[in-house]
Each structure stands twice: as structure tokens, then as C-alpha cells.
């Protein structure tokens, strides 16, 4: 079935996307999920209408209370139900930038600290940046390379190659994720 820009099918997707940029959070489980609307590709041919999202697992649940120990499938189902209940819209509104907490980087011993800033606008995350990074042994650059804006922003143009996603062997610093989550907690306000 051919799908042209004017087909009802595409129209339906766009109606869904336009009013519904939102972030879903699941604070009770020490987790956070976010979804955002990517406007890429709505202009011109060859583009795509996508609904992007990210789900960030808080490694220790510290910013939202510890997760209960999982002991049964019933417990798992309960957590899934709670995760659903906490879906709320937050990315609407004008562009703004928030700064996450400063987090210690650990590698067996304290290794440094970092802080990220997140910019949102037009219903999506537009940038995630390492705002502060300091390691005790001068390996800041290596850690900086662990950042993941390219993965989060999903549609990356490299030369003439338009890609839907990137496959990589990422290692994401736990501190990076904690700082990112604290920034998004602020957006949730």
C-alpha cells in the first residue's frame, strides 16, 4: 500500500503527534521514561514522522526512593502498573534549559564528578550537554566521550547519510544518568 504525504494514514499519525509531546515518568519505581515528538522529516521528501522516546533507568533509585525488592511475577506486574500510572505530559511550552545535579563518578573509588544540562523546546529534548566534568586523574575527555546526545536525538545526519538510529557499543556513566534524571525531574516540576 502506497503511503503518500496526503494519505489519511499519515494524517492520522500527525494528528496524534502534534498535540501530544509528553514525558512519561515513573517515579515510584525509581525510573524515568520520556517520550518526545521529533519534527524531523516533516518538510520535504524522504523524511519520516517519528515518535521518539527514551527510558532511563535510575541505577540506584536514589532520587525517587528505593525500588522494592522484586520477588515474584505479581510484584513485577505491580511495578509495571505503577510505571503506567505515572505518565504525565511535561515537554510542552517554550524552550528552556535545566541543569542536573552534580554527581560523583565512581570506578571502585571516587573518580571525578560531572553535571549535565538538558534543553527542551517545541515538545522535544533538543540538547543534552555535559555542563561540568572533572576527573581526578585527567581523563575527562574519555568520560566526555561516553555522553549520548547522538543516541538520544536519534536522527543524526553524517555527510549525506540520514539514519533512523545508531548502533554502537556505548558505555554510559551512571553519574551521567543520575544527573540527567535530576534535570528531567526538574522539568516535571
Amino acid at each position: 500500500m502506497k503511503r503518500s504525504p496526503s494519505s489519511p494514514r499519515v494524517g492520522r499519525i500527525r494528528r496524534f503527534l502534534r498535540p501530544a509531546p509528553y514525558v512519561a515518568t515513573a517515579a515510584a519505581a525509581g525510573m524515568l521514561a520520556l517520550l518526545w515528538y521529533s519534527p524531523e522529516g516533516q518538510e520535504g521528501g524522504g523524511g519520516i514522522d517519528v515518535l521518539n522516546g527514551a527510558s532511563i533507568a535510575n541505577p540506584d533509585g536514589s532520587s525517587a526512593g528505593a525500588s522494592p525488592p522484586v520477588t515474584s511475577n505479581a510484584q513485577l506486574r505491580k511495578e509495571e502498573a505503577e510505571a503506567r500510572r505515572y505518565a504525565i505530559p511535561i515537554l510542552d511550552g517554550p524552550p528552556r534549559t535545566v541543569v542536573g545535579d552534580t554527581e560523583k563518578i565512581w570506578r571502585k573509588h571516587p573518580f571525578g564528578e560531572l553535571r549535565v544540562q538538558v534543553t527542551v523546546g517545541g515538545g522535544r529534548i533538543t540538547d543534552v550537554k555535559m555542563q561540568h566534568l572533572d576527573t581526578y586523574d585527567g581523563r575527562s575527555e574519555e568520560i566526555a566521550n561516553f555522553s549520548l546526545p547522538a543516541l538520544m536525538l536519534q536522527s543524526v545526519t553524517t555527510g549525506n547519510a540520514k539514519v533512523d538510529g545508531i548502533s554502537s557499543a556505548t558505555y554510559t556513566s551512571q553519574a551521567y544518568e543520575r544527573s540527567l534524571q535530576s534535570a528531567i525531574d526538574q522539568l516535571r516540576g
Binding site: R3, S55, P59, T71, A83, L148, T158, D164, S167, A169
Partner: protein, 240 residues
């Protein structure tokens, strides 16, 4: 699992509410997998097993399922993928992310969504087409430059990338316990993300001997060498 998961979803003929519900279900699956399998959380089921506090019968069924997959991956890769290699008990971390991402994608597909791609920190499961007649286009990150691509892939199904560049010590040769880094990164594409992930990890750890078996099983591999050269099995679906 300590990573970020992103979704690209084309609702197709299902309602917006159905598509949104499917994404939320996928997120719940990922969160539940993290709660069960995170080795960072002392109370996780996997840590209770590792500490000997609980047997498989007392833990969620998913734990036994994942350990079975680890065993299958160990056999498939002739020992190059080994969840039992490190001290501290079984650690399925190398496989859980792909397993959870595949489950999340399957939940979205069950909801009747036309096409979706779920990307868990570089491990990707997909179904359907972003546009009629066009497969998903996925870039393989250049191991030497985060902002560049080593190549692009026309993807139907799954792809996993494993490498030694993101964290120098994250792949160990199970036979020696030493870091292994014969290549910069290995990407494996095919139907099942868990199989892709096990082969990618195994080849990156030094299991280049597995390439013929991998191809025979319907999978394709692309290797980026430290010098930047890209080598691939003849069936690798490069995007043109």
C-alpha cells in the same frame, strides 16, 4: 541496565491511544527487566540469586528464561560469550539489554503498530518499514569518533554492536580473564537481537572463528578495525 532506550514508532492503522499504550507497555517491560536484572541494585532478583538467598523457583520466571539464553549463547559462541566467567556468580548483563529491548519491541508489534524501532544504547530491534519499501537505516558508530559513522546498514530485524572503544575493559576473554581488543567494534545483524548480541560480544572478544557459523545461521557481521578499515561478511546489508 543503566542505559537510555529510544523509540521510533509509526502507528499505522492503530489508534493514537493504542500506540501510546504500546510504548508505555514497552517502557514498563524495560523497567521491570532493570529491576529484576540490575547488578547495581542489591535487592534485584539476579543479586539475590548471586548471593544464594533465593533459588530459581523462588524468583520471577524471567530469571530462568534469561539464564537459559545465556547457556544457549555460551554454546552458540563456543564459550566466547560466558555469563559465568567472572567471580561473583552468574552475570547475564551482557545479554539482558538485548533481551529486554527485543521484548519491548515485541510488545509494540503485538499492539498492531505498523513499524517501530527500539534502540537500547546501540542495540536495536525493529519491525516493519519506516516508509513503504524502505528498510530502517541504521548507522554504525565510528569507534574512533562518536560523531561519525563507520558505515550505514539497511536493517530488517535487529543489530547489536560490541566494542572495546567505549570502555576499554568491558569485554574480557573468558579463557584468560584478560581484556580482549583485537578489533575496535563488531556489529551483527539478523532476526534475533539476543543472538546478534551474543555473536557481537563473542567476535569482539576474539571469536573471529565464529564468523562462518554466524553466516550459516543467517546472521551477518561487520567489523571495524582499530585503523578504521571496515570488513564485513558477504551478506552484510550495507545501505547503498
Amino acid at each position: 541496565m543503566g542505559t537510555v532506550v529510544s523509540f521510533a514508532v509509526f502507528a499505522g492503522d492503530v489508534s493514537p491511544a493504542t500506540a501510546r499504550g504500546a510504548i508505555e507497555e514497552a517502557c514498563a517491560i524495560l523497567h521491570a527487566a532493570d529491576a529484576t536484572f540490575s547488578t547495581w541494585k542489591p535487592a534485584s532478583a539476579i543479586n539475590r540469586l548471586r548471593r544464594g538467598e533465593a533459588g530459581l523457583g523462588e524468583l520471577p520466571d524471567e530469571v530462568a528464561e534469561v539464564l537459559d539464553l545465556c547457556l544457549a549463547a555460551h554454546r552458540r559462541t563456543r564459550g566466547w560469550f560466558d555469563a559465568w566467567a567472572l567471580p561473583g556468580g552468574v552475570d547475564p548483563t551482557g545479554l539482558v539489554k538485548g533481551w529486554a529491548v527485543a521484548r519491548a519491541a515485541a510488545a509494540i508489534e503485538r499492539a498492531g503498530v505498523a513499524a517501530a524501532m527500539v534502540n537500547g544504547g546501540g542495540d536495536i530491534a525493529s519491525f516493519g518499514e519506516p516508509e513503504p519499501g524502505r528498510a530502517w537505516t541504521v548507522g554504525v558508530q565510528d569507534p574512533r569518533d562518536e560523531a561519525a559513522l563507520a558505515c550505514t546498514v539497511s536493517l530488517r530485524g535487529a543489530i547489536a554492536t560490541s566494542g572495546t572503544y567505549a570502555r576499554g575493559d568491558h569485554i574480557l576473554d573468558p579463557r584468560t580473564g584478560e581484556p580482549a581488543s583485537p578489533v575496535a567494534s563488531v556489529s551483527v545483524a539478523g532476526d534475533d537481537l539476543v543472538v546478534c548480541e551474543s555473536y557481537a560480544t563473542a567476535v569482539a572478544a576474539g571469536g573471529g572463528e565464529l564468523l562462518p557459523a554466524l553466516v550459516a545461521a543467517g546472521y551477518a557481521a561487520c567489523i571495524v578495525e582499530h585503523g578504521g578499515d571496515v570488513r564485513a561478511t558477504a551478506n552484510f546489508p550495507f545501505a547503498t
